[in-house]
């Protein structure tokens, strides 16, 4: 199937615009403030987790409630390897990423083999998250338990409160977005849309649902693991809290759903909005947890299908012209 270069150009446009905005952001907004920079780095890290999660859940309906644990497999895997052997950082990051991909692929394989639905996949992966958190606490001699682990090896200008660190994660995020878009445009994306809309129909039409689910989970988990591994070195310190369920998974689920499941920019928009919200709330309220909860409820009662979809349908209403992108609805309904 040949893709016209014009279509590819249109498809990459949102990524180019996003990259441009993210690249000029430091000079126009947060400049040299380490506090704001580290907040921006957090937003980029979460957006990167979000793209991986979106590939797994948004594209193939596998509710992976182990984003934090997969990031932790990447982060702790890389950190422990570098700590215990004299391997360079890059080797640690590669091994951490591969381990996360392997674990994610394995979880997906189990879910597919046992044909677990959304809820059961969610619960099995949640159980994995809790078990992983306990493992981190128990293996004191490797992980340092609650005290955490100092991770060395990253050049100081790529630290997470330095503009270099910000650009590192912007680069990572843009790379993930390109992979996500490339998958959407290829035959893989076609299969994803088919199985998301109607699994049985997709299977009948000859889509190997099981295989594409495992693909999505492996690639998405590799993204999450790579982000977690780079975060470990960039932050210079990790503890179980860095990758805990309530700090990572709850947020990722909420902001990806807020941005729009399955959309390209949903995770970026969601992570950015929540980063700003977090900063405002810490500054002005005693209990941000309450407001966080109220915010979640209001958003999901208000626009259920995410900001990106809401904006897209608004644009379509006012600009009825044909969009050059492939329509996500399958033909023949």
């Amino acid at each position: 199937m040949g893709l016209s270069s014009r279509r590819v150009g249109w498809a990459l446009l949102p990524i180019v615009v996003t990259a441009a905005v993210l690249v000029i952001l430091p000079s126009v907004w947060f400049g040299d403030s380490p506090f704001t920079t580290s907040l921006a780095v957090q937003a980029m890290v979460f957006a990167s987790y979000g793209v991986g999660f979106n590939l797994i859940f948004g594209s193939t309906n596998q509710l992976f409630l182990c984003v934090g644990a997969l990031a932790g497999v990447g982060g702790y895997g890389a950190a422990i390897l570098v700590d215990q052997t004299s391997l360079p950082m890059a080797a640690g990051v590669a091994v951490g990423t591969a381990s996360a991909a392997l674990v994610g692929g394995l979880l997906s394989w189990i879910a597919v083999r046992r044909s677990l639905g959304v809820i059961f996949t969610g619960i099995v992966t949640l159980v994995f998250s809790l078990a992983f958190a306990n493992l981190l606490l128990g293996q004191r001699e490797y992980t340092g338990s609650e005290t955490g682990l100092v991770v060395e090896g990253m050049p100081s200008n790529l630290a997470d409160d330095h503009v270099g660190g910000y650009y590192l994660f912007v680069g990572l995020l843009v790379g993930f977005l390109i992979v996500f878009r490339a998958l959407q445009l290829s035959h893989v994306g076609w299969a994803f849309r088919a199985l998301r809309d109607d699994e049985v129909a997709a299977e009948l039409a000859g889509v190997n649902v099981a295989r594409y689910r495992i693909y999505a989970a492996t690639i998405g988990s590799a993204m999450i693991g790579l982000t977690g591994a780079l975060l470990a070195f960039s932050a210079g310190f990790i503890s179980p809290a860095t990758y805990s369920f309530d700090r990572v998974d709850v947020r990722v689920l909420v902001f990806v759903a807020f941005g729009g499941l399955g959309t390209l920019l949903g995770p970026v928009i969601g992570a950015s909005v929540f980063a700003i919200l977090d900063e405002r709330l810490t500054a002005s309220f005693e209990s941000r947890e309450v407001l966080y909860g109220v915010f979640i409820i209001v958003i999901f009662l208000g626009f259920r299908r995410g900001v990106v979809n809401a904006v897209v349908s608004l644009v379509r209403r006012f600009l009825p012209a044909r969009r050059p992108e492939a329509d996500p609805q399958p033909s023949g309904e």
Binding site: L137, E289, G293
Partner: protein, 283 residues
């Protein structure tokens, strides 16, 4: 050995009681109430405030249970309405997200207003000997409450007209509507019942040890695991799963070690889900 198994049964009955409130709501339309643990904590805090006021423990317990049931009804009448207008996985996901929001709100208010809040109901008296093993009165009471609740629930669903109506909604919502049962009213009642059960969990847990204000998330997780292992929507399954998991926990804590126990427990849960995705007694 007997002592370890008995401890496991006491713990398991508490697990079962915890799971049953969540399983009922799930059975009735596919909503997993992620605010369940926070509702338990709310009941505990209400009861502890009443007790600190110098009132009788029984009054405190009743008020705690009523408060939790009230929150259950409130959830059903507000957040759950749009959820039940959806179908299938949309409903499940919206239900998860909205109850997660509710969990943040309830848990957030409680930890903010009562950062040191905790409920402990001290039941005095010498240990009672069961099968030659001395058991504290608190754990005996907690187990008796759990068993009584299990018996009442099974009686309610097996022998009363309304209970059968609830079961018909669990099996087939459209069919139930056709024979004149109002699923919406049934749901409100079940949410109230589920809330009341959360309140009873708070009281019985506090008889064994203190229940602190930040226990919500952990309680929700355990309720979720018990619910799934027992079979979604099954009352007897929840108690069976609770007791099995309790005994596994107690045995491995005694013979293998505390740290690895949680992992074994989680592994047992995962294994059950994988071998029998419907749960022990699921349909």
């Amino acid at each position: 050995m007997t002592a370890v198994v008995l401890d496991g049964i006491v713990l398991g009955l508490a697990f079962g009681l915890l799971g049953v409130g969540m399983t009922l709501v799930y059975g009735l339309g596919g909503v997993l109430n992620l605010a369940y643990g926070q509702i338990v904590v709310l009941a505990a805090i209400v009861a502890s405030i009443v007790m600190d006021d110098g009132r009788a423990t029984l009054l405190a317990a009743v008020l705690g249970v009523l408060a939790a049931a009230g929150v259950g009804v409130l959830l059903d009448l507000t957040l759950m309405r749009p959820v039940y207008r959806e179908r299938g996985e949309e409903r499940t996901l919206l239900g998860l997200l909205l109850t997660l929001g509710a969990a943040f709100v309830i848990g957030g208010v409680l930890t903010w207003r009562y950062p040191d809040g905790a409920l402990y109901i001290n039941i005095t008296g010498d240990p009672v000997s069961v099968l030659g093993v001395p058991m504290t009165r608190g754990s005996i009471w907690a187990s008796v409450i759990a068993l009584a609740v299990a018996a009442l629930l099974l009686l309610f669903f097996g022998a009363t007209t309304f209970g059968r109506g609830v079961r018909s909604v669990i099996q087939d919502e459209v069919g139930a509507r056709l024979v004149g049962i109002n699923p919406s009213f049934v749901r409100t009642v079940i949410f109230a019942l589920s809330g009341a059960l959360a309140g009873i969990v708070a009281i019985s847990t506090a008889m064994v040890g203190p229940l602190t204000v930040n226990a919500g998330f952990e309680l929700t997780t355990f309720a979720l695991i018990v619910t799934v292992v027992g079979g979604l929507g099954s009352v007897a399954g929840a108690f069976l799963a609770g007791v099995l998991l309790g005994v596994v926990q107690s045995l491995s804590a005694h013979y293998i070690g505390q740290y690895i126990t949680t992992i074994i427990l989680l592994g047992a849960a995962a294994l059950t889900i994988l071998i029998r995705p419907r749960g022990l007694l699921g349909r």
